[in-house]
Symmetry: C3
Subunit: 352 residues, 3 copies
């Protein structure tokens, strides 16, 4: 971290906040509340976390407007977490990428390169590829034919962009990820599997971030799409012809089957899966390890496998530990009822 000196007044202006305390307080870094040192700014979204703050050496706490009192200087903003992230970016070490093309990069003569791009060692750029301005290709990146990359996009080491895929501007693609591999499309005839040609492509829109070692398959025909602003974690699998909306969050090891359509602002927690050809409406939240087997209208929180409304699943999960006891009890009840029946038989003067 650059431990640069900035006044609290300067930071308040940067994030549009209101200071409670000394505006000349010097801030030299950012930190989570439990690790903060003297000079650090930290944040708290609820009053209860301020007790931790009292114990830290932090020099200022970013808080929501309703928190007004503390022994430490406060910076009041509407969204403390967001203000914290923005201030953190001020102190983050800015790695500048010197524009330039490493002498070992292999660039096809027909490729079109933007201004101020940085191309690392052993990068390969294919025929008719196009790289936008200020983009950065780390060492070992392979860019296939007819690939298009926008401006200010960073592609980390050993990423493979297969022929024809399109990556937007202001994207980040982490190391080892593969975009544009063939979809898993085969047809069976007499017990053998024959490949269905995968002649579509992948479009990754602007402001998308994709984690490390993900796989995003090209469409059988048409496009696999990752909508703008969507963020994808590591080891995620997106099958052919999937269309993901904007501003989704897809956590690590999620798998989305072929031709699924996902609306905007959908969240998939870790290791969840979705069966093929479903539609997941906007605003859906899919809990970790869930398996979605039916289309969802949107704005639901689902969990379990098969995925159900989270409240229903929770009731099942809470009841499950009682199941072994239930089996026993039902056995006992059956015996008890038989015994009562015999006693009633007797009272009725029935079979004795």
């Amino acid at each position: 971290m650059n431990r640069e000196r900035r006044s609290l007044a300067e930071l308040a202006e940067f994030v549009g906040g209101r200071i409670v305390g000394d505006p000349e307080t010097i801030i030299t870094g950012v930190s989570a509340i439990e690790n903060a040192r003297r000079g650090d700014i930290t944040f708290a979204v609820e009053e209860k976390y301020l007790q931790n703050a009292a114990a830290t050496e932090a020099s200022c706490i970013i808080v929501p407007p309703h928190i007004t009192e503390s022994e430490l200087p406060l910076l009041q903003v509407e969204n403390p977490r967001f203000a914290f992230a923005r201030i953190a970016s001020l102190y983050a070490p800015q790695r500048r990428f010197e524009p330039g093309i490493h002498t070992t990069a292999v660039i096809h003569e027909t490729a079109i390169l933007g201004r101020e791009i940085a191309v690392g060692a052993n990068v390969v750029i294919g025929e008719n590829a196009r790289i936008g301005d200020c983009s950065v290709l780390f060492p070992g990146v392979i860019v296939g034919r007819d690939v298009s990359i926008g401006d200010h996009t960073h592609i980390h080491s050993n990423v493979s962009l297969e022929d024809g895929v399109t990556i937007g501007s202001h994207c980040v693609i982490h190391a080892g990820t593969v975009i544009g591999s063939d979809g898993f499309g085969f047809v069976e005839d007499k017990g053998k599997h024959y490949k269905i040609p995968q002649i579509g492509t992948v479009v990754v829109e602007d402001n998308v971030e994709i984690g490390a070692n993900c796989t995003i398959d090209r469409a059988a025909s048409g496009q696999t799409v990752i909508g703008s602003g969507t963020k994808i974690d590591n080891l995620v699998h997106i099958a052919h012809n999937v269309v993901i909306g904007s501003d989704c969050l897809i956590v690590a090891q999620v798998g989305i089957s072929g031709s699924v359509r996902v609306g905007d602002h959908v969240v998939f927690a870790g290791q969840a899966g979705v069966a093929g050809h479903l539609t997941i409406g906007p605003g859906t939240v899919v809990a970790a390890k869930s398996g979605v087997t039916k289309s969802l209208p949107g704005h639901m929180h689902v969990s379990g496998f098969p995925a159900k409304p989270h409240n229903e699943e929770k009731k099942i999960v809470v009841s499950l530990p009682r199941l072994p006891e239930l089996v026993r009890k039902v056995g006992q009840l059956t015996t008890a009822v038989q015994r009562l029946a015999r006693r009633i038989d007797k009272l009725e003067g029935g079979p004795m």
Copy 2:
């Protein structure tokens, strides 16, 4: 897509089909039934899908022999899906790989290279490796020592083939996949884990396709085997000493533990797992997210964790939402039975 013009007669001959309608109909492309444009050929496996066809602009529909009437020309074949895939391959853009070895490829002097191979930029081929005729190595592929690759095999970018592995002919291995990494074999002594040398290898037979970013470990000793014609999706893990039969389908993110033996024509759906040392008989279908914990004789459809016959699992899954109500009901029944018992006591002149 090459929008080349072919007559329906020509296509019927190619797939061995029978035309209902005008054999001179011109076909310029292929498409799914819902997206078909004028000039496209599409397919329908059941009568009910023909209603969609009526609404499309398709110029011909591939159908099974029992479908005989439609407003559009028909092409009757035994397996419409397969005929469609074959015709699609006619129209798929054929990427021709110019034979040749890129100047930046690093090839050991002892390596044996077949005829008409295409070796991309920054490929590394190790000592005593052998590449068959007409095979294609994309940029950044690493071929270890003593690796053998058959004819007409395509290895995509940044694949790592570790020392000694064997890849058959007519295989496709997608980007980022690792074949021949060490198996996960350790032995504990006094709380420390010591490595068991992994001195076996991997054999991938002919006509195998392996997706992107998969991992296939070498055997501890002997061979890990992927049988001929088997197709593997992305991010699949195959542990050491696994033997997979022929013509299997293994969908994305499946994990198969060490020493498992899988018969021919087995299907694993996405995110399924198999515990170590089991035998999965031929024709088994393992549903998505299942966990197989016992050997299976074959020709079963299993699901759930632990995996059970699919019909049994389905009954459990259907019953589960009733579990919370069941807990309540059993409580009520217990009370009701106690109350009845007291009433009977009274009738019997028992304890009052």
Copy 3:
């Protein structure tokens, strides 16, 4: 395998064992008990496995001290599995890596290289990186700026070590793995996700082995840590700020969410997951496919999702197949109780 000739006496001395039988027996290799050939040494940890041994052609069996009789020569040791692994390493083909730097490697002038390192073709080593003595970088490895690698560490093909990460001595990192990718840290403001700068790093301590195509994210701030002696299988995801203790085993496709703290000697079986910010105490065993949702004190065996003590989960799993029948029975009981109630009503002279 080197089929070198060693006497049983020599091997006994190497592992500190006691011979029952002829010390001059010649051993030329190692093998699992079911595949052993003449000249092989194998092992058996329990008497019952000796029956298999009787059927093999093995020339000697490594056994625990309480096994004293067999038709074959025995080698008695405290930990037969460990002795077997050590003897196997004697017979494993020792690949020697000729020290040297391939002419195509791209090494920054400020990098500091240890003695007798082997650097393969197309390796890239960044500014201020430091490689310890006798370490081996396979072809295509990318070492970022300020990366530090200890002594005797092997990094396989196409691994990406991002800027600033530290790898200890005697480590093995398998092909395609990414260490130091950004953590998945975003903050939402008005429906958009903004990146929280990930300015921490990753520390991999000594004697760690990491499988192929894993992803280990850098901390948001501070360090993600993999403790010494821990062994990680393929396709494992370790999120930012996770701290893993020493001598853990993490099997394939496990995912560990952000800021989780894992004690020493913890085992995660395949496809398990852990939710964020939990503490997993030392000696915990997490079964395959489990999902841990609460912190665990240590020395427990948990399974299921949400993970529970294994014994509790087992009871539920055993009861589940009875659930459909239970639903039916409770329905029948309800009817039976109503009928009894009516009969008692009658006996009591109640409503008729």
